[in-house]
Amino acid sequence: MRALRNRGLNRGMLLVVLACLVIATAASADVILFSFAGFDWFWPTGIGQVGSCYSAVGYVNSFDSTYVNADFSTNEYTFIIDLACFVSADSSFFPFVQYIYDGSTSSMRVYCDPIATGTHGDYGTNPPNAVSPSTFIDGDCILSGTWNGDLAILLDTSTGNGDISGELMWNGGSQLGNIPVNQRNMSLAVGGVKFNPPGGPLGYHWQIDGTVFIQSPVPVEETSWGALKRDLGGY
């Protein structure tokens, strides 16, 4: 880009740039990549405390078959969000409190483990423990993504209801190749949470259930340089 500025935009370069802008504008909708459900925790200190880190584990219960080849009859699919650490808390909207957790230290990964020969996901108690997250991160890592920015958690302290969200860049895993390159970034992960589930696994903080979206395929229309120039007003 620096080279472009230094040399000035010639007509060809401008057309390429404008074409890219058109494509970027078209990519506004989202499609579901997968749906997940599980439990989460804060460690080694509690939510909102300096030094606390957020993690979640559970099951992936559906995929879009366009992007992930899954066989739920023979495999178990699990996920982890690991170790996003506390940045800040904002109670300006009390009784809602927004917590920010650092996405740069965290990732979201999905694993495939054969039911017959693998290890069933086991929450255990007081995570991290001998079985969690280890039984949720065994098998083949089919997708892994890093966060663009932070994880945001909004909690209604009057009810214990809340949500968590973040934006992912999918960049690893054995099935990454099924996701077109231009759909891997700006993937939105959203989940609802419920605080202190009565009778939930001891030591876990919230129920979590959510969805990961990726950008929808970009519709393209074949054209020629001549047509493109005409569409751009003969520039």
Partner: protein, 226 residues
């Protein structure tokens, strides 16, 4: 004598221990997958709900767990669907036009097993046909959406009341709904928006259900401790 008393006490202690372990922690029992919501004339990106309007959400079940492990949501010969309906909006409160909370009264959740895979968002009744395997009343049903980002939540307490498989939930307690809810237009496909849907929902049911236990006898317990 002291030895016998100690042995008897250990049996009693073992029996007491047996009891609590028969009740598992609260776990997901059904994952109600992505679904879409319709409510009056509400459209996507509208955070305000009109008091009195009725909310309906339809979608597919994507996972069953204990005590429904024998049900396969991917069974090609069946279709498992769900519907939230009869939820009456109590209006929306908002904080600084950033956080919007809508409480609903009434409402039921129903889960169906159909032998025809005919669910079509164009006709919500196609999500309500076949064998109703579970029905539940909803309490404290709440959605929270935001203008600060696209995420939001949907929560409720539920009480199972009927359906052909409701007997499997005898003894289950603390049943709740948890999940994501959003009115972001990018999460509701254009086709569903055209059909009148305004919101996206992805929830699960958790409950604390008894773990199946093996019948035993004092004799067998004594054998175990010899």
């Amino acid at each position: 004598m002291q030895h016998r008393l100690g042995f008897a006490l250990s049996l009693i202690a073992a029996a007491l221990l047996w009891g609590p372990t028969s009740a598992s922690a609260q776990q997901e029992i059904i994952d109600l997958g992505p679904g879409y919501a319709v409510e009056g004339s509400r459209v996507v990106d509208t955070h305000i709900s009109t008091a009195g309007d009725s909310l309906t959400i339809v979608g597919h079940v994507i996972a069953f767990r204990n005590p429904f492990l024998d049900l396969d949501p991917n069974d090609p010969a069946k279709e498992y669907t769900y519907v939230y309906r009869g939820l009456v909006s109590q209006g929306t409160t908002n904080l600084f036009n950033v956080i919007f909370t809508t409480n609903y009264s009434g409402g039921v959740l129903e889960i169906y097993c159909d032998t025809a895979q005919d669910a079509d968002f164009a006709d919500k009744t196609t999500f309500m046909n076949g064998d109703m395997i579970l029905s539940a009343t909803l309490l404290n049903f709440t959605t929270v959406t935001k203008t600060s980002n696209v995420s939001g939540s949907q929560n409720a307490d539920i009480a199972f009341t009927g359906g052909s498989l409701v007997n499997r939930l005898v003894g289950c307690t603390s049943a709740i709904i948890t999940g994501a809810f959003s009115v972001y237009n990018g999460f509701v496909p254009a086709a569903q928006q055209a059909q009148g849907y305004f919101g996206f929902s992805d929830t699960k049911i958790d409950a604390q259900c008894p773990t199946p236990v093996d019948a035993s006898s004092w004799g067998r317990i004594k054998l175990l401790h010899r």
